[in-house]
Symmetry: C2
Subunit: 335 residues, 2 copies
């Protein structure tokens, strides 16, 4: 085992002082001859010297670190959100520390502590399992700002989401227009706030249409492909002409359930989803859904938390991004 290369090793090889090396590697190269600068930078590469994080954050007064906690890395919706966060963070020279809580409260708490321990300057939290007052307490006490994204419950702080109420209403309007008054919904057993709003927008639109959705037509399950698949039988038992999978993953599970029940989409039954993950275009028939701007939710969250890190006194920011109906091939007009 080699020992970690230190700034002293590098300075000795370059035959300059430690201060000179430190200043050159911290953006103050202009003070030195280009020959010295080049020599130091060349040796840094050769010797594999990496400046120490703690030393550097002392100099810069910030570690330029954003802690990110998401519930489920296996859902492509969150992969897109992460990509947005990473893209914006890199642009502004911040480093995202990404933690997946796998929907476990103990893992979430563990990673929340780790983010604080590792000197996160701010946090983006897209997870809904924890008690928000607990999160708020830990982060506030340590002076760390945070932003809630998508499914985290409402508090008075910064927040970015997409308009779920409207998205639910868009789908309901579209199904009603196509003659589907008998619909079943496959939703979460413990719906997070965004799912509650999505469902409320959908249910209310049906109610206002004079065709309310009976409670037994709202089937609850796990928010995965597997969950949607498992719930299909119960949904079919209510004899709907269309099924709303509360997200695309669930709708794709319903596709499989219907296929195994010998039903064709959309000739025998219609299906809609929510999120617009790229997969929706690759299954057959292509899935009609609501587009959520996942990537933009990520970039917006990163922009907002960086703004907050750099000025704790900014007014509270709450951004609700627009959603839109994506009409594909999974709904048949039956009127």
């Amino acid at each position: 085992m080699t020992k970690k290369v230190t700034i002293t090793d590098l300075a000795a090889r370059a035959q300059v002082s430690v201060t000179t090396v430190s200043q050159i590697l911290n953006g103050k190269a202009a003070r030195f001859s280009s020959k010295t600068v080049e020599k130091v930078k060349q040796l840094q590469k050769e010797m594999g010297y990496v400046p120490d994080f703690n030393a550097q954050s002392l100099i810069r007064k910030s570690g330029r670190t954003i802690g990110v906690i998401i519930p489920n890395m296996n859902n492509p919706f969150f992969s897109r959100v992460l990509l947005g966060i990473e893209t914006e963070a890199i642009k502004q020279d911040y480093v995202p520390l990404i933690f997946g809580s796998n929907n476990s409260q103990s893992q979430e708490t563990h990673y929340l502590f780790e983010s604080v321990r590792r000197a996160a300057d701010g946090m983006i939290i897209a997870s809904a399992v924890s008690d928000i007052n607990y999160i708020d307490n830990i982060l506030n006490q340590n002076g760390i700002p945070y932003i809630l994204i998508d499914q985290a419950p409402v508090v008075k702080g910064d927040r970015v989401d997409a308009n779920n109420q409207k998205g639910g209403a868009l789908l309901a309007d579209y199904l009603i227009k196509n003659g589907h008054t008998d619909v079943a919904v496959v939703c979460a057993t413990k719906p997070t706030l965004n799912l509650q709003e999505r469902l409320a927008g959908f249910v209310e639109t049906y109610k206002n249409n004079g065709t309310p959705i009976p409670e037994d037509r709202i089937i609850t399950t796990e928010m995965t492909k597997k969950g949607g698949y498992a719930a299909t039988k119960a949904a079919l038992a209510t004899k709907p002409t269309a099924i709303f999978g509360i997200n695309d993953e669930v709708a794709i599970g319903v596709y499989r359930g219907l296929e195994e029940a010998g039903l064709k989409i959309p000739s025998d039954i219609s299906v809609v989803g929510y999120d617009d993950i790229d997969l929706g275009e690759y299954i057959s028939p292509k899935l009609t859904t609501v587009h959520q701007p996942a990537f933009e939710m990520g970039t917006n969250a990163a922009q907002m938390i960086i703004k907050r890190i750099e000025d704790h006194n900014e007014p509270i920011q709450q951004v609700s991004l627009p959603v839109s109906l994506v009409e594909r091939d999974s709904v048949r007009a039956i009127n």
Copy 2:
């Protein structure tokens, strides 16, 4: 903005010394009365005190941190690998710092430096874009062990992968058994080592069967659903009876290309993939593929790197996990 809660604040409130608090929070509570221990732990929660990472790693002699660089968070195969890494890391009280390089060499280098700066004790690298000698230099110079996983190129160090040569051969045998001697392959423009081996196993089996695959039947594209979709036309132009998508994502793209060309799988044409991502069971018809133990690749990589971190003198470990054919509904026997 509140200031970060310090150990001194906590000690003052608890009316004990800083040393007492430090020892209680670092697993040496047995020396103190249960009343004192309880008081300190209760106040830690109330005040939201999080021990400083640097102070703690000095005490423990290690930050118990594993840096992880993966090429693409959007591929469910890597999400499974990550889940395996996380699961094992948590079990052994390590924290994974996860970075997605988005197949960009500059991002990869950036995150490699960040991992070293943030005191990673070891690295798991599943990325193939960088010059391996460059990685080896930086990490070796800093005494940081690393393990290569899946698509990273071979070096003499620790490594975990699945047997790609055999997986390719399994698929070829199966297709030949079902009468498909005219096959097209949709592969990567710049195949990484694992893809090269997979292709070699496939191509060699056909050669040994006396039905070699002509070069023009090997179509190259991007390793995504979109890439598979875009390559379908060129693959069809070679009039194959079956198409091998070099991974499941590509095969799912081919499904869409065939659907749009008006062809039915498997009655008009057969398709096979590789990876066994969960989606393969949710598309129609269900995809015949080779199972790669993605989760186990993650747990094995984490186990191996932790072993290496804790003993740099362990002999070199190279694990090749078994693969198996998963026969579903996307291949028709034509003989």
